[in-house]
Amino acid sequence: MSVLDSTTTILASGVRLTVPLAFAACGEYIAERAGTMNISVEAMMLGAAFTSIATASATGSATVGLVAGVVTGLLLGFVHGNFSHRAQINTFVVGLVLNALVLGLTSYLITTNEFVSHQVHMLSIPLLQDIPLIGKPLFSERWPAFLLLALIPLTWWLVERSRWGLELRAVGENPQAADVTGIKVNMRRRQALLWCGALAGLGGAYLAVGEVGSFNQNMTAGRGYIVIAAVIFGAWRLGRTMLGCLVFGLSDAMRLALPALGVTLNAQLLVAAPYLLALLAMLLFTTQHREPGALGRPFERGST
C-alpha cells in the first residue's frame, strides 16, 4: 500500500512538473523548426509567471492572470522576433539579454510588491480519476493542464500538416530556397516565435497561478533551459520532445520525493539529468541530420 501510494505521489508530482515544461516545449519546438534557437524561452516563462500572479492579484481572477501570462509571452516573442529576425541581432545575444532583463525585472518587482495568492481550480475527471496508480496523476489536475490535450495535437498538425507548418519547416531547413519560393522567411520565423511566446507564457503562468499560486524570485529556476534540452533530447520531433518533458518532470519529482522516502540518491545527478541527457542526445543525433538545417542561422536576402 505504501509503495503504491508513494508511486502515485511521485507520478502525480511528476506530471504536475511536466505540464509547464510541455506547454513551453510545444512552443520551443515550433521556434526551432523555423530555425530559431530560442534561449529566451526562460524569460518568457519567468515573465509570464510573474505577470500572471500580478494580474490575478489585481483582478482577483486566476484565469485573467493566465491570459496575462500568455500575453506576456507573446510580447517577449514579439520583441525577440523583431530583434533577431528584423534587426538581425544575434539570436543568442537577444536571448541572453532578455533572460537577464526579465530575471532582474521580476526579481526587483517581487521584492517591492505584495501580491495576493491566486490559483485556478482543480478539474477531476469522474471515474477516470479513480483508476488506481495513474488515476489521480493523470485525471485530477488544475484545469489548464487539460489544454495540453488539444495543444499537442494542434502543434503537430500545424507543423506537419498545415501549409503554415510546411512553410515553417522550409524556412528552418533552407531559408534561401524558401525565400525564392515566395515565403516571407523572417516573418514566418517571427510568427513561430509568437507561437512559442504564447505557449511558453502559458507554461510559465500555469506554474504560477496553476501549481503554486504565488510567485517567488527566479521561480522558473532554469526550466526554460530544460525545455530547450527537451527539444534537443527529442531530436526535433514533437512526440519525443513531449516524452523528454515527462522524463525530466519525473526525475525532478523523484528528486523531491526520495529523501522523504528514506532513499538516498544523488539529488544533483537528478537535477543535472536533463542537461546531461540533452548533451548525450546531441552527441548521438547531430550527425544524423535530425536538426533543422538552418537552426540558429540568420537569414538576410542577398547573403547567398
Partner: protein, 392 residues
C-alpha cells in the same frame, strides 16, 4: 625585429584611440548609443519611481558604494578584475568565430579545481595561491574544451553545449562541496551537508596592497589588465592572432591558407574557458569572493563578463572601461540593497545598458538598408555562423 615594428608613442596612442572609436556606423552610432543609454537610464529611473523609490537617492547610493571613497573604489576594482578576465576570454573565442556563452559554468569549474588544490595540497606560502590560480585556469579551460570536443566529434552547436554545460557545472559543484574532498567536517549537526566547502587556508589568499583607509587592491586586477592588453596585442600583432582573426572572419579561407581550423577553434574556446576559470580562482582567493567553494561562488560574474564582452564588441582594450562600469554597478548595487532598494535593480540597468550598446550598429544597418543602400558594415560582434564545422 620587433623593435623595428614598434613605432613612436604618438603612433601607438593614435592606434589605441582608433581601436576605441566606435565600429561601423561611426558617429551616428555613437550618438544613437548615447541616446539609448539615456533611455535605459530613464527607464530605470521610471521603474524606481513607479515602485516608490527615489532615482536620485539610488544613484547616490550607487555612487557611494562604488566610487565615493576608498572603500567604494576597493570594492569596484576588486569586482572589475574577474569581470575583465571573463570578458577577455570571451573576446578571444569570439574573434575566432566561436560563441561561448557558458562562462558562468567555467568560472565555477575553475573555482572547483582551485578549491581542490587549495584544500588538498599543502604547499608552502604564496606557492599555494599561484597553484590555486593555475589549477582554476586549467579547470575552466578543460570544461570549455569538452564543448570544443563535442563540436569536433559530432558537430554539436557551441552556444548550446556551453549553455547546457553551465547547468551541469552548477550541479557538479553543489555535489562536490558536500563530499569529503572539499569538506572535512562534512555533516553538520542537522545531518544535512553544508552547501559550501571549507574555507581555503590563509596562505591561499591574495595579499592586498594598501591599507584601510586608502584603496586596497590585490594582484588580481593587474593580472586582468595584463591579460587584456596582452590579448589585444597578441590578436593584432602576432601571427597566431592573425590566424585567429582569419578563422573568425572566414574559416574557409583560413583553412586554405593552412590554418588548422578545428584545432585552433577548439583551442581558443578552451582558452576562453581558461580565462573564465582563472576568474573563478580569483574569486576564491580574493576578498571579493567567498574564500570557499559554493554554488554561489560565480555570482553572475560569468554572465556579466560575457555581457561586458558584448558591449565592448569583442575588443579586449574596450573591455577595460566597460568592465569598470559593470563593476561600479555591482559594487554600487550591494550598497544600494543596504539602503532598502533591491539589488536586482542593478540587473535591470545592466541588461538595458547592453541593449543600448548592442542595438545601434544593427539599427543603422537596418535603416540604411531600408533606404536601399547596399549593406556596408559586416555583421560585427559575435554574429557567428554557428556551424563553423561546415568548414572542417
Amino acid at each position: 625585429m620587433s623593435a623595428a615594428s614598434l613605432t613612436s608613442g604618438d603612433e601607438i596612442a593614435r592606434r589605441f584611440l582608433a581601436r576605441l572609436r566606435p565600429g561601423p556606423g561611426g558617429w551616428i552610432a555613437t550618438g544613437l548609443t548615447v541616446v539609448l543609454v539615456a533611455v535605459a537610464a530613464g527607464a530605470s529611473a521610471l521603474l524606481l519611481l513607479l515602485t516608490g523609490g527615489s532615482p536620485s537617492a539610488s544613484a547616490a547610493a550607487i555612487w557611494t558604494g562604488s566610487l565615493a571613497d576608498a572603500t567604494g573604489w576597493t570594492t569596484t576594482l576588486l569586482n572589475a578584475a574577474p569581470l575583465l578576465l571573463v570578458a577577455v576570454g570571451a573576446c578571444i573565442c569570439a574573434s575566432a568565430g566561436t560563441f561561448n556563452i557558458g562562462q558562468e559554468g567555467q568560472v565555477l569549474i575553475g573555482g572547483l579545481a582551485g578549491a581542490w588544490v587549495g584544500l588538498r595540497l599543502a604547499l608552502p606560502g604564496p606557492m599555494l595561491v599561484v597553484m590555486v590560480l593555475i589549477a582554476a585556469a586549467v579547470g575552466g579551460g578543460a570544461w570549455a574544451a569538452l564543448s570544443a570536443l563535442m563540436l569536433r566529434l559530432r558537430g554539436v552547436n557551441v552556444p548550446v553545449s556551453t549553455l547546457l554545460m553551465t547547468f551541469l557545472a552548477i550541479q557538479l559543484v553543489t555535489f562536490a562541496v558536500s563530499t569529503p574532498w572539499l569538506q572535512e567536517s562534512a555533516q553538520g549537526s542537522s545531518g544535512i551537508a553544508d552547501a559550501a566547502s571549507n574555507p581555503l587556508p590563509a596562505n591561499a589568499r591574495l595579499a592586498g596592497f594598501g591599507q584601510y583607509p586608502s584603496v586596497q587592491l590585490n594582484v588580481g586586477l593587474f593580472i586582468a589588465l595584463v591579460a587584456a592588453v596582452g590579448v589585444a596585442l597578441v590578436l593584432s600583432r602576432s601571427r597566431w592572432g592573425f590566424r585567429v582573426r582569419m578563422l573568425g572572419l572566414n574559416p574557409l579561407t583560413a583553412k586554405h591558407t593552412g590554418v588548422r581550423v578545428a584545432a585552433l577553434g577548439g583551442f581558443t574556446l578552451a582558452l576562453s574557458g581558461a580565462f573564465a576559470g582563472l576568474a573563478g580562482g580569483l574569486l576564491l582567493v580574493s576578498p571579493v569572493g567567498t574564500n570557499r567553494l559554493q554554488a554561489g561562488l560565480s555570482d553572475n560574474f560569468g554572465w556579466d563578463g560575457l555581457l561586458v564582452a558584448l558591449v565592448a564588441r569583442n575588443r579586449p582594450l574596450v573591455a577595460i572601461p566597460v568592465s569598470l562600469v559593470f563593476a561600479v554597478l555591482r559594487a554600487g548595487g550591494d550598497f544600494l540593497s543596504a539602503t532598502g532598494v533591491p539589488y536586482y535593480l542593478v540587473d535591470v540597468v545592466k541588461a538595458l545598458l547592453v541593449l543600448a550598446f548592442v542595438a545601434p550598429p544593427v539599427l543603422i544597418d537596418l535603416f540604411s538598408r531600408r533606404r536601399g543602400a547596399t549593406p556596408q558594415a559586416a555583421p560585427d560582434m559575435s554574429v557567428v555562423p554557428t556551424k563553423v564545422k561546415a568548414a572542417a
